[in-house]
Amino acid sequence: MMADSMESGRTPQQADKPRDWAGALGSNPAPTADPAEAGFMGAALYEKGKTIHNKRIDGPFRRFKWLVMLVTLAIYYITPWIRWDRGPYAPDQAVLIDLAHRRFYMFDIEIWPHEFYFVAGMLIMAGIGLFLVTSAVGRAWCGYACPQTVWTDVFQHVDRFFDGDRNARMRLDKAPWTASKIARRSAKWAVYLAIAFWTGGAWIMYFADAPTLTVDFWTGEAAPVAYATVAILTGTTFWLGGFMREQVCIYMCPWPRIQTAMLDEKSLIVTYKDWRGEQRGSLKKAAKNPEAYGDCIDCLQCVAVCPTGVDIREGQQIGCITCGLCIDACDKVMAEVGRPRGLIDYATLDQCEAESAGAPATPAWKALLRPRVFIYFGVWAAIGAGLLFMLGTRTHTDLTVSPDRNPPFMLLKDGSVRNAYTLRLRNMEARPRDMEVALVGLPSGAVMWTESVSMENAAPVQVIDVNANETKIVRAYVLLPEGASADAFTFRLTSLDEQRETDLAETTFAMPGNE
């Protein structure tokens, strides 16, 4: 009963043909004939999925899509294999997220956990970058660079390779499950799985030395988390890229929803110029009555090539990722029937309005020249410049100090007061260094010692050796003789090499009365 009603859902939006607006107005829809087909209160419980068999197309936008796909996939698969010599104390992988040692390597840049603001800054830049791209070229991210789009494209080409183009694939879908169909499907899904596995496998290479991890992976010696990650990413790639495809964009992804709030009449979108296209009709009809028909010959090529299966002639919609394939398709048809290109084209709604009122077509690139683009670019570039400045001027020496809070101070037998501190000395160079820690701003007589230097050797300055690429945690005691008093002072760290980098860390000195 349940299964019956599930299988026979009403699917009003699945027709390839655009909705008949005039017909819909005031017409009485046919009620569901068989009560058994109806779900709860007569409404279908779900909408049956429809596989999109998009047709092969060639054109400038398709070729651009190929290029973006090639570049993004190349970056994704090749990056972890680039080597970068950092000397004996650091890994030689150009891009490496070393979670175990809390280091992030990116070519000549090495980010430590306490510099995570660089990563935060880059994430903010990525976020603002999306705003920038949206305000400049609309949903270009969705159409070209989004991983979901790229992998969907890859999988659709696999479909085409095994099952032929649109019509052949539609026929095969409807065909009964013969031995040859099963064989074809198995082969295709095997390739899906191989691509998915390769996707997951490439991901883990960013988190460990790629050549070593590859050997470990196949000899069963890699970390369990590596296998789990590959398994999960293989599964999600296989499912999301092989089967869910445009459903991810339409139902799962928050970005199209955010886009609906970010696009306005000045945003570049893919749009159908209805004032030129309508009234649409076949060439035959138009030949009989040229005055009544527009340029659209209703050939549905724009729908056939669409990777998300939308009809762009219905206007802006969430399913349109603005990949421009319908532009390629329509331009090709217009060329064949001897009409000017651009019936479907990148344009803003403002440009469309002006054009429909008789103004000459505005070049699409003019949509770029809007204040919003410059403001976003300014913010984006300012953050980038700030990060670069900080990167260029940062020292490879760092000191942080945390005073003991419990007890805040210690009164000793002779009346002197001792405070204890935890010092974190960071040597961010790929070589061991001696570092000098000095007390600045304490009255004379103040001395310090550490766990490894006994109290007898207390002095105002101590030298501590720190290994290459190491954070050394040292417990230090500072003693103020009886009668002296202080409330704040500074630890000064100096690297004892030719750089003589310094870092200061202010802290407090607690005493009876000022704890």
Partner: protein, 314 residues
């Protein structure tokens, strides 16, 4: 199924979508069914939950929950992790067990492990009196400073931990009692004595009467200059540290009606390695003393118990 509702279904013109057919005060709902995979995800969750309820603890009953066929429990997980951690520590624990406590600092690796283990044990067993930072409070000694009533070497600290202080259940406990001088002196004499005690650390002017009383009544335990005798647990009176407070009133009170702290013996409650680790931790707090060569420790407590008449602290 009410067919009446379905009758009002119509196509909404602006969206081209069918309505579900019911209406409240002019508000209608568009019928936008879920995609099938979404519904399946929902069914899959139900199936997952059904399996989960069988395999894992799930249904709350009156006094417990159903156990689940896998026998999983979070306590079981914890026990497994704890025993794995114990296994990982085993080698170091054995090394510490056979190492003489005074030799621990010679191996930074062992000392570090002992201090870390001691810090953990301290948080469970010692903070109730000595405080989370081991800084103590009036009557409870501070373990961070360099003043040790019963000695601050690793061996002495370990002994104190093993046998406690004034812990009558342990025959070898460290014990001493300072007599109460209430009623033995005139108020003026008490004032003079208190003045002398305070003068030992420079907090008051010296006075001859007080000095005379001190040498007659106090110096036997506390020493002529009030330097104390850790062997019998007699606190130094010439320093800046006062267990029960260093004001005149507090010192007077301690002379007239001395208070005596008690610390339990831990040797029957904790294993020897934990006690060794605790000693290492306390010693590492900044005031630990180095052992003088040859120190006969074990006899001291017994002697003290019978002979000492020492004040607990200044």
């Amino acid at each position: 199924m009410s067919d009446k509702i379905g009758v009002n279904k119509r196509i909404d013109a602006p969206t081209g979508t069918e309505t579900v057919g019911h209406e409240w005060d002019g508000i209608e709902e568009l019928n936008t069914p879920l995609p099938r995979w979404w519904l399946w995800t929902f069914y899959a969750c139900i199936a997952w939950a059904a399996v989960y309820v069988v395999l894992y603890p799930a249904w709350p009953l009156i006094d417990k929950a159903t156990a689940g066929t896998l026998g999983w429990s979070s306590r079981g997980d914890l026990a497994k992790e704890m025993s794995a951690a114990d296994m990982a520590r085993q080698g170091m624990v054995e090394r510490i067990a056979v190492t003489d406590i005074e030799k621990l600092p010679a191996s930074p690796e062992m000392m570090q492990a002992a201090v870390a283990g001691g810090a953990a044990a301290f948080k469970i067993n010692c903070v109730q009196c000595h405080g989370a930072g081991a800084a103590g409070s009036p009557g409870y000694p501070n373990l961070n400073d360099d003043d040790w009533i019963w000695g601050g070497t690793l061996t002495e600290i370990e002994y104190t931990l093993n046998h406690g202080i004034r812990w009558t259940a342990d025959d070898a406990t460290r014990v001493n009692y300072m007599p109460a001088f209430e009623g033995m002196f005139q108020p003026a004499q008490v004032k003079a004595l208190t003045g002398h005690v305070l003068s030992l650390s420079g907090k008051a002017k010296p006075n001859a009467a007080g000095a005379q009383m001190f040498s007659e009544n106090c110096a036997a335990c506390h020493g002529a200059a009030g330097e104390g005798q850790p062997e019998m647990g007699a606190p130094a009176l010439n320093d800046a540290i006062w267990l029960f407070g260093g004001t005149e009133a507090e010192v007077t009170q301690q002379i007239l009606k001395p208070r005596h702290g008690v610390m339990p013996a831990w040797k029957d409650r904790l294993d020897p390695v934990t006690i060794k680790m605790l000693a290492a931790y306390v010693h590492s707090r900044g005031g630990g003393q180095k052992a003088a060569p040859a120190q006969p420790e074990t006899d001291v407590a017994g002697d003290v118990a019978s002979t000492a008449k020492a004040e607990n602290d200044g």
